[in-house]
């Protein structure tokens, strides 16, 4: 079981949580709005009933309260109808109650302030109570204070709220389900390119295809292009290994053939031939091993800082060539980088600097410069230099293992191989210092490490 959630699971959880939050809040707000307006309606209804009751109330000059036996609103006449009225005096003693209140325990009623109206809900008893404190003028000088209370059961209101809620949540749940289905469909649709990548990779893996197809959405282009680059790189590395192995096997055959064809009766020449051919095979092995070990240009490669590597090499070589008292001028900025694998760079610069140390008469200059589209590394010395007619040959040594190796060894041929693995080129010329100048050209900007698109290896 993978402890990481899949993208599907993540999206689903996010959708469900947001739906619950959104619909829950919306539902609660709608419910509250509905209850508020229903309450207001109830208040208005009770208020108008109160006015109706006031209209039929009369007080005699003696202060006697008189109301008709049967009121116009039928619910006041029917016992236990759910609508009751009570008129209380100043001591909160009931002077009159509607017929509907007969045998009914009304909720506790409170004394009212004269001239104020008061709507109470919710109350301890659960009833709606609309009350008004009224100063009733019997004569010009006599005023009777009365409290009118209209009491209504909440059944109707409750019914309304329940019905509203039922339909509200019914719709919301239906809506949530629809949204969920839509979201899942959207999700499937958006993630389908990823599944295609995985299917594509599968076909590449099984060898039916070389590359991922290129019709992916913009967001995946970076990924698929890099994957293609990696595949390309692997393919090239494989073919380099294959070629290397092939070359190695073939180039070993010649010295082996010479050894087998040796006339063993002639000890003197046999010995000479053996020494010569062993030497030759050693060279072949060296060359091909180093060549196969080259990492070469790879996509997503980090840049390697050049200066520390040069400094390490110069310190080491100064030790080895301590007798020569060489001055090596390093013209490289501290943060100068290049998109070459660190080991490869060490191999390149190691061979170049080793040659320079070997041949110079005390002066070496190593420099790097960033041009518009490429990075240039130069190593120069004040030694004897390399003759124009030898330059090509020097770069091919090792490859043609039958050549006698002097001085420069297979170093430059290897450098040339490594540089070519990075699609660069190598040039030998005469240095201003007097000796050889080796120029390496890498076809990309070192600082950014941006690698130009692949072109086929020819």
């Amino acid at each position: 079981m993978n402890h990481r959630l899949s993208i599907n699971q993540r999206s689903l959880i996010a959708i469900i949580l947001s739906l619950v939050c959104f619909l829950g809040t919306a539902g609660w707000l709608l419910d509250k709005a509905f209850r508020d307006s229903a309450l207001q309606g109830e208040q208005q209804r009770l208020e108008s009933i109160l006015y109706g009751l006031l209209a039929v109330t009369d007080i005699s000059p003696e202060g006697k309260l008189s109301l008709p036996n049967f009121l116009a609103d039928e619910r006041f006449n029917r016992p236990n109808s759910g609508l009751y009225a009570s008129i209380n005096d100043e001591q909160n003693e009931s002077l009159w109650q509607s017929r509907s209140a007969l045998g009914q325990a009304l909720p506790r009623l409170y004394q009212q302030v004269t001239g104020k109206r008061n709507f109470q809900y919710p109350t301890a008893s659960g009833y709606f109570i609309y009350s008004a404190g009224i100063a009733w003028e019997v004569e010009a000088t006599q005023v009777v204070k009365l409290d009118f209370h209209i009491i209504s059961s909440p059944d109707f209101y409750q019914l309304q709220v329940t019905q509203f809620r039922k339909s509200l949540w019914g719709w919301f749940i239906a809506l949530a389900l629809i949204l969920l289905v839509v979201q899942i469909a959207v999700l499937k649709w958006s993630l389908s390119p990823l599944q295609q990548v995985s299917r594509d990779l599968h076909t590449v893996e099984s060898g039916k295809k070389q590359q991922l197809s290129s019709d992916y959405p913009v967001e995946l282009m970076g990924l698929t292009e890099n994957l293609n680059n990696l595949l390309n790189n692997r393919e090239q590395q494989l073919s380099r290994y294959r070629n290397s192995l092939d070359d190695l096997a073939h180039s070993l055959k010649t010295p082996l053939a010479v050894l087998r064809g040796m006339d063993l009766r002639n000890a003197e020449t046999s010995k000479a031939i053996t020494v010569e051919q062993v030497e030759r095979m050693t060279r072949i092995l060296d060359y091909h091993l180093q060549r196969a070990a080259t990492a070469g240009q790879a996509p997503l490669m980090n840049t390697t800082r050049v200066k520390p590597i040069v400094e390490r090499l110069v310190n080491s070589l100064s030790k080895v060539y301590a007798d020569k008292k060489v001055h090596c001028d390093i013209d490289i900025e501290n943060d100068q980088g290049i998109a070459v694998d660190e080991n490869d760079l060490m191999e390149l610069l190691g061979n170049l600097l080793d040659n320079a140390y070997k041949w110079c008469s005390g002066e070496i200059l190593i420099s790097i410069s960033d041009e518009a589209e490429h990075t240039v590394i130069q190593v120069e010395d004040n030694g004897p230099g390399i003759h124009a007619e030898q330059r090509n040959e020097v770069l091919l040594r090792g490859k043609r293992a039958d050549q006698s190796v002097d001085g420069q060894g297979i170093g430059l041929a290897l450098v040339s191989e490594v540089v070519r693995a990075y699609r660069g080129d190598i040039e030998i010329s005469r240095s201003g210092l007097g000796g050889a100048r080796i120029t390496l050209n890498f076809p990309y900007k070192g600082r950014t490490g941006k690698i130009l698109p692949y072109y086929s290896d020819t």
Binding site: A293, N343, E347
Partner: protein
């Protein structure tokens, strides 16, 4: 000269040991880092030849540990891969030169002579001491440009003394660096060799290059060039 040879491949180790002994070196050889470290720390070693890829304590660690122990004899590292990464690491650990396998024994001997000479502060293979000129690469000695015929042991003693010119060298130090450990230390061969050297270098007793300091040893005088 006493050489520490650390190489885990038996065939190569025996070959090297034999060739080095033929060249007149005393060889303390081992196939592992632990023993190598012990030999390097306890024996009067003049130079080391150490394979980087030793099992157990690697060659690199041996060099580092020897250097932290202030054992400063020159060291030549052998690498099989020939990658610069490895060479640089070896040199940074304290080695003085490297050689990539496979190599020719002549190359190894030349490098060995070079690091021995360099470690005693001489920049070239030719060491001048007044009229006496010693060439470590050809192992020859001339006086006033006349070649002096020396036996292998005589040459070895003169070379050691020349590389430590002006310093007092005890008899046992000479024995340690010239002979393998099983040699009879009580014999007076050193005295015999010194006597013969004196006769060959200075038959007329004009310059008297080798001084005897009683109870302490010998000293090769630093001579003025004419």
């Amino acid at each position: 000269m006493r050489i520490l040879l650390l190489e885990d491949e038996a065939l190569l180790r025996n070959q090297l040991q034999e060739q080095l002994q033929q060249e007149g070196y005393i060889v303390d050889a081992s196939d592992n880092g632990e023993e190598g470290l012990y030999l390097g720390n306890e024996y009067p070693i003049d130079a080391g030849i150490i394979d980087i890829g030793l099992p157990g304590i690697s060659g690199l660690e041996v060099i580092q540990l020897l250097r932290t122990n202030n054992r400063n004899f020159p060291i030549l590292i052998l690498t099989a891969r020939g990658r610069w990464q490895e060479k640089v690491e070896g040199l940074e650990a304290g080695a003085d030169d490297y050689l990539t396998k496979p190599f020719e024994v002549q190359e190894l001997l030349a490098r060995l002579r070079a690091i021995l000479r360099r470690s005693s502060g001489h920049a070239t293979s030719i060491i001048n001491n007044g009229p006496i000129v010693l060439d470590t690469s050809t192992q020859t000695v001339t006086i006033e440009k006349q070649l002096v015929e020396l036996t292998s042991y005589e040459y070895k003693i003169l070379e050691y003394m020349t590389l430590h010119m002006g310093k007092v060298i005890s008899k046992s130090e000479l024995t340690d660096h010239i002979y393998a450990q099983d040699h009879d230390r009580d014999s007076n061969v050193i005295e015999v060799f010194i006597k013969r050297l004196r006769n060959k270098l200075d038959p007329d007793q004009n310059i008297q290059p080798i001084e005897t300091l009683r109870g302490r040893g010998y000293r090769l005088k630093v001579l003025q060039t004419d």
